[in-house]
Symmetry: C2
Subunit: 138 residues, 2 copies
DNA sequence: CGGGATCCCATCGGATACTG
DNA sequence: CAGTATCCGATGGGATCCCG
């Protein structure tokens, strides 16, 4: 076993910085990773990188997300301390979402991945063609 | 509109390296991003970082994954050119999965994110407590 | 051992409607 | 505008069986 595992340790959250292991099924770090890398999580965090955004601004940027999913995603990220939510009780109401310092670190690493993937799509697409051709040709 | 969008361009894959945009609903780069960041994708790629692994080795490392999902995940990653699959027709059969050069680049960026998240769990956990306390206390 | 095929259910997630 | 609530279909994903 390479990783010290998270097992028992993770359960008791009073310990400061014991080892967390996303590869362990029950480790809370896996949940947070999923919030951040999930279908809408990664795009939402990425969309917030350039500064605060309002709800419908995010909806437009994260093309295809529904209100429900965006709301759900933002709540999970807020709970994990990745984004902050600032509401103003004006009329019409205005709510700004913004990355926390922690969130900005996450976003940087996420965008590094995103930009790399975008830049690799040439390779990916031709790989797919080769794969499909081999299957279809059999 | 900040991003040049992927829209029409992405459909025709003969173009070399036109702009791909994960924020666009129909862009193929979004699919690849999901394969890589998905629930099992990120862990599978991460687990392959240290070298080739066999199927059941991966199953043990990626704690909680089912045979079906691991198989499915590996196929998607193979099709995208992230991992290679090398089968030997011995008995018992032996199949090794390994990252491609592209896959290794992806894995590096993914692991940077994973390790950062693992290292931030202290902050995350206390943020969750504060969030839950505020809700429960109302 | 390394999977493919099938069954089946839980959750995801979209559409719609309603509130403030 | 910024959500919440409900309904409901699509999909994710686990369990099981089976084959090479």
């Amino acid at each position: 076993m390479e990783t010290p595992a998270c097992t028992d340790v993770c359960a008791e959250a009073d310990a400061a910085d014991l080892s967390f292991d996303v590869f362990a099924r029950a480790c809370p770090s896996r949940e947070t990773l999923e919030h951040v890398t999930g279908r809408w999580g990664s795009l939402t965090v990425g969309a917030l990188r350039d500064g605060p955004r309002r709800f419908n601004e995010l909806r437009r940027r994260v093309d295809g997300v529904s209100e429900k999913m965006l709301s759900q995603t933002l709540h999970a990220l807020e709970r994990d301390g990745i984004v902050t939510r600032e509401a103003q009780a004006t009329n019409p109401p205005r709510v700004d979402y913004e990355l926390t310092p922690l969130g900005r670190e996450v976003a940087d690493r996420l965008l590094a991945l995103i930009h790399f993937v975008e830049g690799s799509m040439g390779v990916v697409l031709s790989s797919r063609e080769a794969y499909d051709a081999a299957r279809g040709g059999l």
